[in-house]
């Protein structure tokens, strides 16, 4: 099952809101709890941060708010959405199970780490294959579905964010700590992902 890491990045590349969760569709002992290993967790914000380079590049070439799948990193895929106020939504998720047999290397990413506990280590074949921009053509339909639902999710979060922004006590680039916002994001995550 896929695990997701969602973050809202402010204009100074600072995260405003972070959420880790997993797909609610699959059956697991604790639905909704992310399955990232510790070694992945400690770099997840950096992975999303690094994707900002690509987001910035992509903003010049499209007039869409949803940028779709923009980057990937060792079996982690990153989808992005940019708001009118230059706030970025980034969703980082692992493709281990959602895209079975993606590419030649069977995509068993090193998430979970190799023996040395070194963390995100390229598992056999994951490196190059997951990095190729046109990876896993075999699961196009699946990923398209995914992309659509992620887009829907982003739209809904955008609504929530705008509502949050309307709050006179909230300033741009402040961390979003409202429990209400958190709950609503989780609900839409459950709905779409």
């Amino acid at each position: 099952m896929s695990s997701y890491y969602f973050s809202i990045i402010g204009t100074k590349d600072n995260p405003l809101y972070e959420l880790e969760f997993s797909s609610f569709k699959s059956s697991s002992p604790t639905p909704g709890q992310s399955q990232f290993s510790a070694s992945v967790k400690e770099i997840l914000p950096f992975v999303t941060h690094s994707a900002l380079d690509i987001v910035e590049d992509a903003t010049w070439s499209t007039n869409q708010f949803s940028l779709g799948r923009i980057d990937s990193f060792y079996g982690l895929v990153i989808n992005a959405f940019i708001t009118q106020g230059n706030i970025k939504f980034l969703l980082c998720y692992d493709t281990n199970t959602s895209a079975p047999g993606g590419g030649s290397g069977s995509g068993v990413g090193g998430v979970g780490g190799s023996g040395s506990g070194a963390g995100i280590v390229p598992g056999p074949g994951s490196g190059a294959s997951s990095h190729a921009l046109s990876s896993s053509s075999s699961s196009i339909s699946g990923s398209k579905n995914d992309d659509n639902s992620i887009k829907q999710f982003f739209m809904e979060v955008n609504d929530l964010y705008v509502k949050c922004l309307l709050n006179p006590l909230y300033a741009v680039n402040d961390a979003i700590i409202s429990p209400d916002f958190d709950l609503k994001v989780k609900v839409s995550a459950k709905k779409y992902l």
Binding site: T11, D13, N14, P15, K41, E42, I43, P45, F46, V47, H49, S50, A51, L52, D53, I54, V55, E56, D57, A58, T59, W60, F73, N86, G105, S114, G115, S116, G117, A118, G119, I120, V121, P122, G123, P124, G125, G127, A128, H131, A132, L133, A171, V172, N173
Partner: protein
């Protein structure tokens, strides 16, 4: 301000190392016992051989004669001058071969799959890996540890990635399909006082009678003699007479080396220390470490140092370069031109069309005797994977290799391109792969040849002022179509093909790794030279990933140091991927590194909470954040190896993205994130260092004082 961000190995330095350590003439040296003794007495060191002594001096970029120039004339009779022309001194050919043989028999006895019926001769032909990946990891671990212990702050000369790269490209394995490690000259070193002409004759005869592999052409060797003598003993007249006799009786050219013996104070000011691990392979280094021969340098008196540099300069200029030029011209006339001519083409075509029947079972292993080389059938030996030494295929390959050594990259490229078709027709796959590799290399070398821009780098192709300004491709940036052609028609397909051959057909992973790393460095050169990183960045990334993948698969425990180094290189390549001109880049780096302080005019009010303008004109044109991620991953590996010095060095390379000077309240310094963790580790290490090293240093200074 210099745009030296991120800091790391300059790809041009890597390119230069490539030319010095791989694509340079290999000279095999055989010294008589007396010559070894002579050297030992002169250097007051009983552990040194003549070869060990002379080996470092082969790198004449490092040990240079003042004002040296090497004049090379190419086949178009254009002469260029080069400031250095390094050569590699190695063991004599029979010894090199015996090492290879020992290795191959070892690996065969290890692998039970080796067919027992193979004769010892056949075992030569099984292709061995270029280097052992686990040994490499071991060596690098040792080096990294050594480096972290030795306290040389800010010593970036010994970049560990450079170390890694040099070890990968340095090899002395004799293989049929490339001739860079086929010696160009065989040198016999004898002692004038104790060896006679008959001894020398015996050495030469023994050498000539050695059973060389069938792909190695001994006729191309330049036989040369170094005559060592003590200028303080006997008269110089005798030595010259001896030299004349050598010339007359054996018709071998020779060089005199005056090496005085004894009574030299090597501790004094006049001593020069020479590092002995120049050009050493991984195995040699490991052996040296395990035998713990502590000193990595050799003390040589100033006069001997100067003398040997002069003599070698003379030897290269007077003998090696003319020999190579002559051979290249002969081969060009006798082998290459007929092939290029209309009739030659017609013959090769007719061979292709009309000989199919007799050769229809080509793919099946069918040993062919060398005598068939002139017949219409291909002279390729399918069982042992080589062309016979006298076949035109082998000669042309050698011709191209030698012209690459003489830095005529374009000519080499066209020759490789020509011969590649023949290899493909013969299904000589390992030759095809190696030729494809060298095609890419020679193309990239030609594209990255620099004009006189960076004098302190001593670029290989830099003509000194006053030389004929026949510049190859210089700052003129090729247009998009050229790049597209280079990338899509040459680099990508060739690379895929050669990796397939090396990995799947021959199980020679290490050759593939070497090729990939060389491509990466040359592509980095290309993207820096022509400011075209957007063309190459993803390719570099892809190749580095393939390397990481290959190393991972090979090492069970996942070579941590190697991985860290490759991550570092990824970070470097992304950091250099800037889609801006130089001036903008400079401004950008300046701006990022300094805290942008907005000056408020007097009497004006500035709202500190106002959102500032982001530097929009740079946004999306750099990849510093990506680069930082890779550096962080590399840092993580080094943290696990507890090498805080390397961590401290690498962390400098992420300062464009993060504040690294202190622990802040920013998100990235959180306790549960990698950077925060690394920073805390560094601070801890520093504190413990200070508390520990403090008294030690005091001790040291006290010792020095006494």
């Amino acid at each position: 301000m210099d745009i030296d961000y991120p800091s790391g190995l300059d790809p041009y330095a890597a390119r230069q190392h490539l030319l010095h350590h791989t694509y340079s003439p290999l000279i095999s040296v055989q010294a008589s016992h007396n010559a070894d003794l002579h050297i030992q007495r002169s250097l007051n060191n009983s552990n040194v051989s003549f070869l060990q002594f002379v080996k470092p001096y082969g790198n004449n970029a490092r040990y240079s004669v003042p004002g040296q120039t090497f004049k090379i004339t190419n086949t178009q009779l254009i002469t260029k001058l080069y400031p250095s022309f390094p050569i590699r001194f190695e063991l004599s050919l029979p010894e090199l071969l015996s090492i290879t043989r020992a290795n191959s028999s070892q690996s065969q006895s290890q692998s039970a799959s080796a067919s027992s019926a193979k004769s010892s001769n056949a075992s030569d032909s099984t292709l061995l890996p270029l280097f052992s990946i686990s040994s490499l990891e071991l060596l690098l671990k040792h080096r990294a540890k050594e480096k972290s212990e030795v306290d040389t702050a800010g010593d970036l000369d010994e970049d560990i990635y450079l170390n890694f790269f040099t070890k990968i490209i340095t090899s002395n394995k004799l293989v049929p399909f490339e001739t860079f490690n086929h010696p160009i000259s065989q040198v016999f070193a004898i002692d004038f006082h104790n060896d006679t002409i008959d001894d020398l004759r015996k050495l030469i005869v023994d050498f000539r009678n050695f059973n060389f592999p069938k792909f190695f052409q001994i006729d191309d060797l330049l036989i040369h003699v170094f005559i060592l003598y003590d200028p303080n003993v006997g008269e110089s007249k005798d030595v010259i007479e001896f030299q004349n006799n050598v010339k007359k009786l054996l018709s071998v050219s020779s060089t005199l080396m005056a090496i005085p013996q004894g009574q030299i104070d090597l501790e004094g000011e006049s001593a020069v220390s020479v590092t002995i691990n120049e050009n050493s392979t991984i195995e040699e280094d490991l052996q040296r470490i395990s035998l713990s021969q502590g000193s990595e340098s050799l003390k040589v008196s100033h006069s001997i140092d100067l003398m040997i540099k002069k003599r070698l300069y003379e030897y290269i200029n007077k003998f090696i370069i003319p020999h190579m030029e002559k051979k290249i011209r002969v081969w060009d006339d006798s082998v290459l031109s007929p092939k290029k001519s209309i009739t030659g083409r017609f013959f090769s075509v007719s061979k292709l069309f009309f000989n199919n029947n007799s050769n229809s079972n080509k793919s099946s292993p069918e040993p062919q005797s060398s005598s068939s080389s002139n017949s219409a059938a291909s002279s390729f030996n399918y069982q042992e994977n080589y062309y016979h030494k006298s076949s035109p295929e082998q000669t042309i390959r050698k011709l191209a290799d030698w012209s690459l050594i003489l830095k005529d990259f374009k000519y080499a490229y066209s020759t490789y391109d020509l011969i590649k078709k023949d290899y493909t027709n013969d299904k000589a796959w390992v030759y095809v792969a190696s030729t494809q590799e060298i095609c890419i290399v020679s193309l990239l070398l030609a594209q990255t040849q620099q004009s006189n821009q960076n004098p302190n780098l001593q670029e290989d192709s830099t003509p000194p002022p006053g030389a004929s300004q026949q510049q190859p491709i210089t700052s003129a940036v090729p247009d998009r179509n050229t790049f597209r052609k280079i990338r899509h028609d040459i680099i990508e397909p060739y690379c895929d093909n050669l990796l397939y051959t090396f990995k799947s057909r021959f199980n020679l992973r290490s050759y593939g790794i070497k090729a990939l790393l060389v491509f990466v460095e040359l592509l980095l050169c290309l993207s820096m030279h022509q400011n075209s990183s957007w063309w190459w960045n993803d390719l570099i990334e892809k190749y580095l990933f393939k390397c990481i993948d290959d190393f991972e698969r090979h090492l069970v425990n996942g070579g941590q140091v190697i991985r860290a180094l490759l991550f570092e290189r990824l970070g470097y390549s992304f950091g250099k991927c800037v889609y801006l001109g130089q001036i903008e880049t400079m401004r950008l780096v300046e701006r990022r590194q300094r805290e942008v302080k907005v000056e408020v005019e007097e009497g004006m009010y500035m709202n500190p909470h106002k959102i500032r303008n982001r530097d929009v004109h740079f946004s999306g044109l750099t990849k510093y954040k990506k680069s930082s991620l890779w550096y962080l991953l590399s840092i993580r590996e080094w943290l696990e190896l507890k090498n805080y010095k390397q961590v401290g060095y690498l962390i400098q390379n992420i300062q464009c993205s993060f504040n690294i000077k202190e622990l802040t309240n920013q998100w990235y310094d959180r306790n549960d994130l990698l950077l925060g963790f690394a920073k805390r580790c560094l601070i801890e290490a520093k504190e413990s260092d200070e508390s520990k090293v403090g008294p030690d240093q005091n001790d040291q200074t006290q010792l020095e004082g006494t």
